[in-house]
Amino acid sequence: MSLQTSNRHSRSRLLSHAFAGICLLSTLSCIAALILLLWQVFSHGIDWLTWDFIRNLPSRFPAKAGIRSALAGSLWLLGLTTVISVPIGIGAAIYLEEYANKNRWRTLVQTNIANLAGVPSIVYGILGLGLFVRFMALERSILAGALTLSLVVLPIIILASQEALRAVPPSIRSASFALGATKWQTVWHQVLPASIPGIMTGVILAIARALGEAAPLLAIGAVAYIPFAPSRLSDEFTALPIQIFNWSARPQEDFHSVAAAGIIVLLGVLICLNAIAVFVRYRASKRIRW
């Protein structure tokens, strides 16, 4: 080997190492940001996270402030949003993937849904304000909030479900048709069960996003100070992100720690959600045998 080629080799190896190093650095910076975030939240909030904090209603005094109404509001929203958006979302995905002819109209709808998934959630907030709160006169109720959040998560659920349906091999459908099954039987007994794990993942990601949204709820007029836990669909409500936003915007130092404790509660709910998702996905994927 001449000197020149060996030189070139060592240079390209150096370049390759440098590139790997840069990629590693990017990964580490993500992890570092996460660790920094968690450390900051926990070091501030863990002392304030008591049983009383979960049970108490919001208060002017940091020591008495609790998260009960926000937690109840978030759980209400979570349940209602799921009930409203999941059936519609999966239905739309099934129609677009299994039934709709691949023509211009479908392309138009598809482009629109992809676009809607990227629209800032505040836009849905003012849509909710105009449509649900004012036009349908639902006022600032849990129902108006859940409907608005459903609009936010619908495109995400549709896109994820479509992806999951597309991942089912076409041979499964052909085999089902060959055995004399109708379209409905094929979708219901073959395609849908096979795509449930993927759909579930998408749904959970979407619901987790709904749980963290504050902007659209603030736009429809949800306020932070609700001195009772909501019990009916028409009740006023607050939610965890709104409460946290409100606390951290206050000047008193103690309220920032209270906000940190609220964030821990929010993270706890999120982790529970993800655990359920992993469990359901595991159960569902065990049943598929091709």
Partner: protein, 76 residues
């Protein structure tokens, strides 16, 4: 809203990235929180701002899809 906590809520036209500013999102929240009655100018501006946001994202989405269509390779 996360951005509002960090970037502030001062409506100011500046090119200096170190100054506090206000995002379109924050403006909509600020107006709609103030309990503005329907039909007033303030109430209608948030719809205009929302429309601007919507068209901005739509433009970026269409652009992204155009790039995707041009660069994606088909394997089958």
């Amino acid at each position: 809203m996360a951005v509002t906590l960090a970037a502030g809520a001062t409506p100011k036209l500046t090119l200096n990235p170190l100054e506090s500013i206000q995002t379109m999102t924050a403006y909509i929240v600020q107006v709609s929180q103030g309990d503005t009655p329907a039909g007033t100018v303030e109430y209608r501006t948030i719809f205009a701002v929302g429309l601007t946001l919507f068209f901005t994202t739509m433009l970026m989405n269409v652009l992204a899809q155009w790039v995707l269509r041009r660069t994606r390779e088909k394997y089958e």
